[in-house]
Amino acid sequence: MLARYLTLQNIRRVYAVFFFCLFLLLINITDFRNMKGYEISLFLEIDPLISIATFLTSWTVYKGLVLSLIIVISTLLLGRFFCSWICPLGILNQWVSHLFNKRRPVDDYHVNAYRTVYRLKYYILALLLVLGLFGSLQIGLLDPISFVMRSFILSIFPAVHYWSGGLYLKQPLFYGGILIAIIFLMILFANRFITRFWCRVICPLGALLGVFSAVSILRIRRDVVKCTDCQKCLQFCHGACDPHTSLRISECTVCMNCIESCPEEAIHYGLARKESSVQTPLDINRRRLIETAVAGVILFPIMRSVVNAQTLPQHRAIRPPGSIVETDFLRRCIKCGECMRVCPTNVIQPALLEAGFEGLWTPILLNKIGYCEFNCVLCSQVCPTGAIVPLTIEKKVGKKPYENPVKVGTAFYDRGRCLPWAMNIDCIVCEEVCPTSPKAIWFETVEIQPREGRKRLLKRPLLDPKLCVGCGICENKCPVHDRPAVRVTSVGETRSQTNQMILNP
């Protein structure tokens, strides 16, 4: 009885469900109350594309990213199994494809046949790696784990909270979150036209693992004597890897479905036997590959000849505390959104063009939505690539043995909008909430003559730039809250040598 259900397909399904649930669970516990030192960035850390691309941009394999060796080594031995067994996006795409499936075997053969467009992913990979070699990390746009992480954190989880509640105290808001959601839903919908569209056509990680699997020892093998060319192996094929002819090893995601689809038991997984069919190596055109690399050579200087936060300081590119200097930041940030998930005040937001095109969806602080909690270092602890280096509270607030606090920017008063300055109205909420000790915001008491009535005393806020850490709580709590009368800009940030205004801070 049990043996009837213990098929390879069911075993793989169990793994798929397990890893997908693990993925959701790890996002779910990425918050102040549940983190407790779990390896919450696990999926990002085992992703070899992230570790290789960040290695190319900065010649280091950062901490947890060394875990990706598990996937590299196992892929070299077992083939591209990651895509069908572990990858949350691959698993999701497979489920969605099944949902959109017409459920006629004749269509299955059609949708699971190889198409030449499936080569595109190798060219995408080549382009991204060439850009990485020059020092521009754009892998985060298309790396499947970053992609699915970002989509869940910035669109799916907030949407689930909207209907059910309980995930957050306040409905999280994300700047341009709908854009990320639309792209994600479009990728899911693309499965309607090409099964596993993302995995077969776009995925640069799939391409990378495909390249690795080209040397794998254990493979799907077809016995040419037993095979009757019925093509039933195509019906449930995940990779569109032609198991019925000469298997395209780099496309095969080792889903094992063909083994159980075969009525002749002609397919097995393992070493080659005497009657095993030949296999097709990596199907890419060398000329296209070189053209792609050349495209990278041309694209890179174009990307660097623009105004962005690394060529000129951008006042809105306020990075989370602990971020490294902008040039290096862009070499490390994979836009995964982990910092945006963990931030208790929702201040960390995906940038659109605030930091330039290269900084798309990298974290910036929008103090209108939240503010940087003074005693909080969560974002620095979850960053898987070290774009934000881990801080301790002592280091962040500048307690002993550290001398200076970590500044993310400086606040400036807009005296034309500030109630005490512009309209002689009592306020100084900014002074109340200022978290430094002594407070960076202080006030002068002046005697004012109101339009009517007697003279009275009024407190007008002032800012001490030496004490201000740029946390933005003053901007966030300012009663003039459509365009606050005190606003933080990035100047004075600790991480930058150049984005400074005061000679001797």
């Binding site: 105290l169 306040k170 407070k439 407190k459 009663p479």
Partner: protein
Amino acid sequence: MEKEALKNVRTRYERVTLMASKHKRTEPMLNRRQFLLKTAVTCGITAGAGVWGYIFYSRDPVRRRTERILTFKNFRVDDSAEYPSMVIVRGKSVEQMTHAAVEELGGMSRFISPGNTVLIKPNVGWDRQPEQAANTNPELVAAVVKECRAAGAARVWVTDVSINDPYRSFARSGIESAVKQAGGTIRFTTEKDFVLTDLKGQILQVWPVSRFYHEADKVINLPVVKHHSLSRCTIAMKNWYGILGGRRNRLHQEINTSIADLAAAVRPTLTITDATRVLVRNGPTGGNLSDVSIENTIIAGLDEVALDAYSIQFLGLQVDDVPFIAIGQQRGLGTTDWESLNYEELSL
């Protein structure tokens, strides 16, 4: 001649109809009954559209909201000649001090009936540790939770609308774990937990207020004595800022009237002021231990105005420095002359 011509035409026409179109499915002919039925349906829908337009016709672009606006119930118990109105306890053990203070006032059973839902409102505004004295002492909160439990309260809730992240504020102030151990429940106020409430104040009318105040039978105020630049101090009366949602930072513009309005709106069953550690500078956030003065005192009583009038001495203030206390007296919330009350001083 004419007839002939007509006949020809007809024949030609018939010939044409015989050469049927490729798409030759024709509409079925209606009989009288079907025609009447179809007409009736069309007229019915038309009439329906007219009626819909008539019913929903409005001169306003949106319908007026009819949200329920609540008012606070009276949480107070009557003053009693038997017991003092204010108790000042000095000592080291907060739990013993709390117990002594409550016993002196007649025991918690004077304030709480068995089966009551008790809401405790400490000051948990900030993501700070207990030693930094920006929040109420967690030992005091835990001791009061235990007293309520012992008096037979069915549910003891602890809540505040923190200024920093609530999860962090409750955890790092030590109040969350202390309350859980003592048998109480932390009620975090989420976005959906605010209900419009009429505060009936001079400048504060309808504001979003944490719904727990409408669900509780008794309310206990547990403020902490702190410095505040604009109002000079934040103690018991100002602690009621923490019931409000919305953009409450506008209240600074008329801070003294706002504080009095809030204190008049929420009249707690009992107030126990925490002056074990007093933040004398850099309030209300603090953050530096050198700004904290250790006073080892708690003050319990029924009159918030008197409690505030007493507690300002820890900050070196006089009643005249703090206008809202006098406004409180004018509104009949209590007396600024705490020495005129029947008070007790204890040292443990």
